[in-house]
Amino acid sequence: MAHADKSAPSNPVAAFFKIEGTAIALVFALLVILFMLTAPRAFLGYRVYMSFMANVPPPMIIALGLTLVVVAGEMDLSFPSVVAFASYVFCILYQDYNWTWLALIAALATGTVMGFINGLVVTKLGIPSLIATLAMLFLWGGLLTVISNGASLAIPQIVGDPIQVVFAGRLGPLPVQFFWALGVAVLVWMILNRHRFGESLLFIGDSLKVAKVVGIPIEREKIKLFTLMGLLSAFAGVLLTLETTTYFAQAGMGYLLIVVAAVFIGGTSIFGGSGKIVGTVFGSLIVAIIEAGLVASGVAGFWTRFYIGLVFIVSVTMNAAIEDPDKVPLLKDLRARVKRY
């Protein structure tokens, strides 16, 4: 039996950064401080933050759902089409039929059904989810164009409607949707870490063989997973629509890389079996803040994209290094060498 080394300094700082999310929160804080220094006018005011809080929720909610999907060792690339579909359903029902709460329910139901079908395709046809959902991205997107006839819709009249106030209004200057996103984050955290469904996902992602052998109904849980992902994407779509009061045919497509980046910057492993919900929350914030921060800092035109890439790499590396320097091979080597000589 091994010993806990009494002499090993039980470093309280190191222990603190073992708590879920503290490391990535620090990275985010550093980024904000950096931008406060380089772009004080924008980042010392409150407006920029309000704008983030209004626009981050949709991708953040999707990223939270995707985190669960990744935990189970799967992928979902079809969410942009689900976002657009839900947005369309909501808009058209609101505009043409004057539905409000029912329109919300219909939109969510649409996303849920789409997610359910994604789940069926993945489990019943046995197609790896990455390619299956890529195909569904096209399929749903195409279907939507056919149904909507490609039109875009605007529902400016919704501003002030109770449904808009509840989901995308302002509490003072604070955009309400941000609290919804935080609510979803708490819920998803609870599901993953405290609910039997989350436990199933953890084991499914860890090893399908083990999951089967311990009696987890793999197929059913996967279908539930994709269904939930559909529901969350649809909710994101509705929030987006309520904030912009418009529907575009490509709505959601721009989120594809962003959401994927948010999940993995948050520190969730692509190999499944573990997931960091708090990480995803901050990952979404980091992804959202980078470009605005760079632009406000006056980074010259074409350099922005270069720096976005750089900040991605630095953030991920710092997140790992703060949690445990040995996770970064370069630092590990350095430490080993310093120790030796």
Partner: protein, 300 residues
């Protein structure tokens, strides 16, 4: 009467993705003309990728149709081999959206460069901008990208008139989901409170969120001049609310319609070398009500 029974087969490059805002009206126009003229219309979509436009042009040619409508984004040099081959085989080639100067093909679209200048001109006049005022141009500055020529026109005009021009390249993500550009532009305005105008040369979606940007940045209607392209329901609201000064329109419906029509006419009667700028008009406070109805149908 004879032309109406054309029975031609025509490949038509529509631009982005099926049904998206900058593509839809062109599709509808082309389909309408194809219906009337009994043309077998085959639609291609490139996602505005010049590379893909080239590939699709060669695929279209391989199918030996009567006519092909292309776009000029890849540039004259890249398009020349294709044009030569098409000529050899007697396939009629029509251009829409972006011109290939010097090729003498039938062209239907905006005078992109001129439209860009036009946008700047409108903004300067309506927004009462003076020399030295700081203007942000948010658009495409990468050659070959959709909107790059327009952006150049805008920037050139502003510079010629002594305004302070700042350019900001939009991202692929923001082009797809314009709401993503809101925090970026808000951050810019916060950092540069002396900005007098934001111009968006060439993107309906981004134009549509301009009102939101100004609201979020705490600007009052008219405080910062905003102008852009492509009339949409959202930009109509922006104009009504006074946030958006002017929206230029390229009337892509006409590009689709005339594109098909001219191909038929050239094939049947050899009537070629037509060039038409589909619009120089714009939407402002004065005509916004009138345009609103048409937009809902997807025609404008």
């Amino acid at each position: 009467q004879e032309a109406a029974d054309s029975g031609l087969t025509m490949y038509f490059q529509m631009g982005g993705n099926p049904g998206d805002t900058a593509t839809l009206a062109r599709e509808l126009g082309a389909r309408e003309a194809a219906r009337i003229l009994k043309v077998n219309l085959i639609e291609q979509h490139s996602g505005w990728d010049p590379q893909k436009m080239l590939v699709q042009a060669s695929e279209a040619l391989a199918a030996a149709p009567d006519a092909i409508a292309i776009m000029g984004h890849p540039g004259v040099a890249a398009m020349t081999p294709f044009l030569n081959k098409a000529k050899e085989e007697g396939v009629v080639v029509v251009l829409t959206d972006t011109n290939l100067p010097g090729t003498g093909l039938n062209y239907f679209g905006a005078d992109s460069y001129g439209a860009g200048r036009n946008l700047a001109d409108l903004a300067v006049k309506d927004g009462k901008l003076k020399a030295g005022d700081k203007v942000l141009v948010y658009g495409a500055f990468i050659e070959g990208a959709a909107g790059a020529i327009t952006a150049k026109g805008t920037v050139d005009y502003l510079k010629e008139n002594g305004l302070g021009v700042e350019t900001l390249q939009w991202t692929q993500e923001a082009v797809l989901d314009p709401s993503l550009s809101v925090p970026v532009l808000v951050a810019y305005l916060e950092s540069n409170p002396d900005t007098k105008a934001i111009l968006v040369p060439g993107h309906g979606g981004v134009t549509a969120v301009l009102a939101k940007v100004l609201k979020d940045a705490g600007k009052k209607p008219g405080e910062v001049t905003a102008a852009g392209f492509d009339i949409s329901s959202a930009s109509i609201q922006g104009v009504k609310d006074g946030y958006i000064t002017a929206v230029l329109d390229q009337q892509p419906y006409l590009q689709g319609f005339y594109g098909v029509l001219s191909a038929v006419l050239q094939k049947k009667y050899g009537l070629g070398n037509t060039q038409m700028f589909t619009s120089t008009g714009s939407m402002t406070k004065d005509n916004v009500e009138l345009l609103e109805a048409l937009v809902k149908t997807g025609i404008r």
